[in-house]
């Protein structure tokens, strides 16, 4: 069985300019959404309280809001998730309640209203902790980016590092843009997914870059565009199968993982799909733009004799 039967190389780079412009537009749109709508930061980053409670039978949300209002809590978000018996309550940081007291007040009020209520999960994060988590997240993003550029620069050449990281940051931007546009909750686990995508989708670029290097050796007469087109075409099958496999697992998480893993899996899905696109249609055109030359890699070849193919 074989999915891909290409008689000749697909001229990917012919569309390179078009795809770069498209990516630029997508990136600008993403930045626009992030700037205008902002990310819907979860309680991990903003501070506040999230409570998950369950009832024996379906429950009226208006009634819960009423109970909360009686306690002087009017700015709570109350919504169902999963089934109509399960309710998610979000509360912003309140200064009149110290520490974890707020959740106790809420659960006691709910118990008086309906004794079948059960507390499933509480997350309280103080505002100072939220700020730290956000800073650490940004630091991690920076560290990963620099680490990847450095690694690619050593292993290939700086132009590859730049092309690789541009493509990957483009993926991150798209994920963030989607989360801003749909106002999906951006939590600590989503941040983990974003960073995992950064590490994961650079794989794709690495595989193609490896082929490009090999083709520089093998196809001595070919020009840069052909070298790249051939590299992408040759790795096409692997690209689709690998990402397909990962996506199968991510879909399984999306369907079975529950609400904690839902947005995590969603971020990974966007990351994987755009990861394929950006490795093919962003990283490689940037390589051409940066004017990568056979000598850039062959020079390194001499230093790394053990890499020579028999």
């Amino acid at each position: 069985m074989e999915f891909f039967r290409f008689e000749r190389d697909i001229p990917f780079m012919r569309w390179g300019k078009f795809s770069l412009i498209l990516s630029l537009v997508i990136s600008i749109l993403s930045v626009y959404f992030i700037a205008s709508k902002g990310l819907n930061f979860g309680v991990d980053f903003t501070g506040g309280t999230v409570m998950e409670v369950s009832y024996d039978k379906a429950v009226d949300l208006a009634q819960i809001r009423q109970v909360l209002a009686e306690q002087g809590i009017t700015d709570a978000t109350v919504q169902n998730f999963g089934t109509s018996r399960e309710v998610l309550i979000r509360l912003p940081v309140k200064h009149e309640f110290s520490g974890g007291d707020l959740s106790e007040v809420v659960i006691n009020a709910l118990k008086q209203n309906d004794t079948t209520v059960k507390m499933q999960r509480v997350e309280f994060v103080g505002p100072q902790v939220g700020q730290e988590l956000l800073e650490n997240g940004a630091l991690a993003l920076l560290f990963v980016s620099l680490g990847i550029v450095a690694y690619l620069a050593v292993r290939f050449e700086w132009k590859f590092g730049v092309a690789g990281i541009t493509a990957n940051l483009h993926d991150v931007l798209v994920i963030l843009g989607c989360f801003a546009f749909f106002q999906w909750e951006f939590s600590l686990t989503v941040l983990a997914a974003v960073l995992a995508v950064l590490g994961y989708s650079v794989n794709e670029s690495v595989v193609i870059f490896d082929r490009i290097r090999e083709n520089f050796r093998k196809l001595r007469k070919a020009d840069l565009t052909r070298v790249i087109d051939n590299a992408i075409t040759m790795t096409m099958s692997r690209t689709v199968i690998t990402h397909g496999s990962t996506q199968i697992v991510v879909i399984s998480m999306l369907l079975l993982g529950g609400e904690v893993l839902y947005y995590f899996a969603l971020a990974l899905t966007i990351g994987i799909l755009f990861g394929i696109y950006s490795s093919l249609m962003v990283a490689s055109p940037i390589l051409i733009l940066l004017g990568v030359k056979r000598e850039d890699l062959i020079k390194q070849e001499r230093k790394q004799q053990e890499e020579a193919v028999p």
Binding site: R5, S98, Q120, Q128, G147, T189, A196, V206, Q247, V249
Partner: protein, 614 residues
């Protein structure tokens, strides 16, 4: 060409045995158990105690499935949670005075496995249910508290030295000691500098006369902060012990934070209450000279006094000045007084004993009030008349309390007060049913993801697909084995990382298989195609995994809580997947196909372009 030396096969076999051995305990499940551990250091854990516990259970006809003595305590296994609860209640009533009786779960894996260190993975709070708190110590509060103590001590020593002063006042973060004349100030300066080495004294002139400004020295300040944190951790530990939690985690994070994790605790309100409790003792004098009736009638006590009602008794006026506080207590035990009434026997430290001796000597015939301060609510437990000077630092508090109350008071006094106020700045509570649900979710995601990937790969790559899938299973086996042996905490994001590892680890095998197909397409003979396929794929596999590893390490170093759990599994998963996809799958290929002539590589049908590329 495609042959492995024996030692490579041995490494693969050894890793398989290792993976199996350490993965297995996870499948035996856990059974409810009770853990009995001493409440105080010094109580010995020995076989006598084990026998006693067994006898107690036998006496109440409670069946148990085994018991063992471990350094941490005695563990008794039960068939179900009902029996466990019953046993807990009986043991609590019988020996609860000296021992912590905690509910626990014990792995069901055979003894010989546990002895080899093969234990199930340590489940995080989001999987087993429980509470996680992060508390921040209020260092400003700690400073304020110690300034109060200094001010009382300075007042006392000035009185002892008979140096006349016009009072000690708080002024921001320093103390102002007022004097009427310069001689007194000079004398005080010399004497105080001798007695209070942690204070820096400076002469100042304030609005109404002469003064000495006392500031806590910076080095004393940092020492005090460290001490406050240590003291708070000790206090928290004592209190958590009272809650009866089997494996609590209490640890310092950063300079002023403490993490408390209580697995399996369901009553979070009680946990918060006990953690935040500040029970301490105050000894003050009763004011019998002022007009009590007038104060009761008007509700306005005279200046410098407070109105209290003695437990189960009459109202009384108590002076505001605190003579002795609970932080001088070294021990508190429940017991009985001479009249066989429940009482608490309190032992004071040297300093406290001296203060108490002085105060009883100077106030013979007067009444003192013993106040229990709990959550900023003061209650006069008893207000006895001082009959004689009491030395030796042993105080007995008795006054209309039940023996249960005496026990509670003793526990709280012993557990101590917090050196500085603490605030909960992060809480994560997961109910036990949600925890179990999370395990199912994580497990199912991994299982169905794995099955789908395995089916696809086997159909696509045929025999080589089966080998890839076997390598993937080995990868999973090694990863879980590694997580079990490291006893790393497995969280829901960690389970997501296991699932993700399945999806990502197959990449290496896809790379290899595609390369082999390429080689065949280019006309290489079967054995050479396999060899070249593996050989060329390795560089790419390493490159792509190292970049993911960089991301994993960054996540681990900057992440916290759930993200860290994800990162640990991700990093370990990368290591095991490189090993299993490169070494294990190669080993299998070599074993099955290496020693014979191959007409064709069993890697599925390969389509060849009609026209050659070049």
């Amino acid at each position: 060409m495609n042959r492995y030396p024996l030692w490579k096969y041995l490494i693969i076999a050894a890793s398989l045995v290792f993976g199996l051995l350490y993965t297995l305990p996870n499948f035996f499940g856990e059974s409810p158990a009770i853990q009995v551990s001493p409440l105080r250091a010094g109580t010995t854990l020995d076989t006598d105690l084990l026998k006693r516990v067994e006898q107690l259970l036998g006496k109440h006809h409670i069946a148990f499935n085994g018991s063992l003595l471990e350094p941490g305590g005695i563990k008794i296994r039960f068939a179900d949670t009902d029996t466990q609860m019953k046993a807990r209640d009986f043991l609590e009533a019988e020996i609860g005075k000296d021992f912590i009786i905690a509910l626990n779960l014990l792995p069901n894996s055979p003894q010989w496995m546990s002895r080899l260190g093969a234990l199930p993975m340590y489940l995080g709070l989001d999987l087993r249910g429980g509470v996680h708190f992060m508390l921040q110590v209020d260092m400003v509060g700690a400073l304020s508290k110690s300034l109060d103590r200094y001010s009382a001590d300075i007042r006392n020593s000035l009185r002892e030295l008979r140096i006349p002063s016009a009072g000690v006042e708080r002024e921001g973060s320093s103390l102002l000691i007022k004097f009427r004349d310069a001689i007194a100030r000079e004398k005080a300066m010399v004497e105080l500098a001798k007695n209070f080495t942690d204070l820096e004294l400076r002469e100042v002139d304030h609005a109404s006369g002469l003064g000495l400004l006392a500031i806590i020295k910076p080095e004393a300040h940092t020492r005090m902060q460290r001490f406050a944190l240590q003291q708070n951790i000790t206090t928290l530990r004592n209190r958590v012990n009272e809650l009866g939690v089997a494996e609590p985690i209490i640890q310092q994070v950063g300079a002023d934070r403490v993490i408390v994790q209580l697995p399996g605790v369901q009553d979070t309100a009680k946990a918060k209450d006990i953690l935040g409790r500040t029970a301490t003792l105050e000894i003050r004098m009763v004011d019998d000279e002022s007009n009590l009736e007038a104060a009761v009638m008007s509700g306005q006590p005279p200046a410098g006094t407070e109105l209290f009602t003695e437990r189960g008794g009459d109202p009384l006026l108590v002076k505001k000045q605190v003579l002795l506080t609970g932080d001088r207590i070294t021990d508190a035990q429940p017991g009985f007084d001479q009249d066989n009434q429940p009482a608490v026997h309190v032992t004071l430290d040297n300093n406290g004993a001296r203060i108490f001796k002085d105060l009883t000597r100077n106030n013979v015939g007067k009444r003192m009030a013993i106040l229990l301060v709990e959550k900023n609510q003061n209650e006069v437990v008893t207000a006895p008349v001082i009959r004689e000077e009491i030395g030796g630092g042993r105080v007995q508090i008795s006054g209309r309390m039940s023996s249960l109350e005496a026990r509670d008071v003793a526990l709280l006094l012993r557990a101590g007060a917090l050196a500085a106020p603490m605030e909960i700045i992060e809480e994560r509570t997961v109910g036990p049913s949600l925890g179990a649900e999370n395990i199912t979710r994580g497990f199912n995601s991994t299982l169905y993801g794995f099955i789908a990937v395995a089916l696809f790969i086997m159909i696509y790559y045929r025999a080589f697909g089966v080998i890839s899938v076997t390598a993937l299973s080995v990868n999973l086996l090694l990863l879980i084995g590694l997580l079990s042996i490291l006893q790393a905490t497995l969280t829901l994001p960690g389970m997501a990382a296991i699932a993700l590892t399945v999806g990502m680890a197959i990449d290496a095998n896809v790379l290899i298989n595609e390369r082999i197909r390429d080689e065949i397409r280019n006309g290489a003979p079967p054995q050479a195609a396999i060899y070249a396929g593996y050989d060329r794929a390795i560089g790419t596999i390493l490159d792509s995994n190292i970049t993911t590893l960089i991301a994993g390490i960054a996540l681990f170093s900057f992440g916290s809580g759930p993200v860290k759990g994800f990162a640990v599994v991700l990093c370990l998963g990368i290591l095991t997947s490189v090993f299993s996809s490169v070494m294990v799958s190669r080993g299998m290929v070599n074993l099955f196909y290496g020693n014979r002539k191959l007409d064709k590589v069993p890697i599925g049908s390969i389509w060849k372009p009609i026209r050659k590329q070049r």
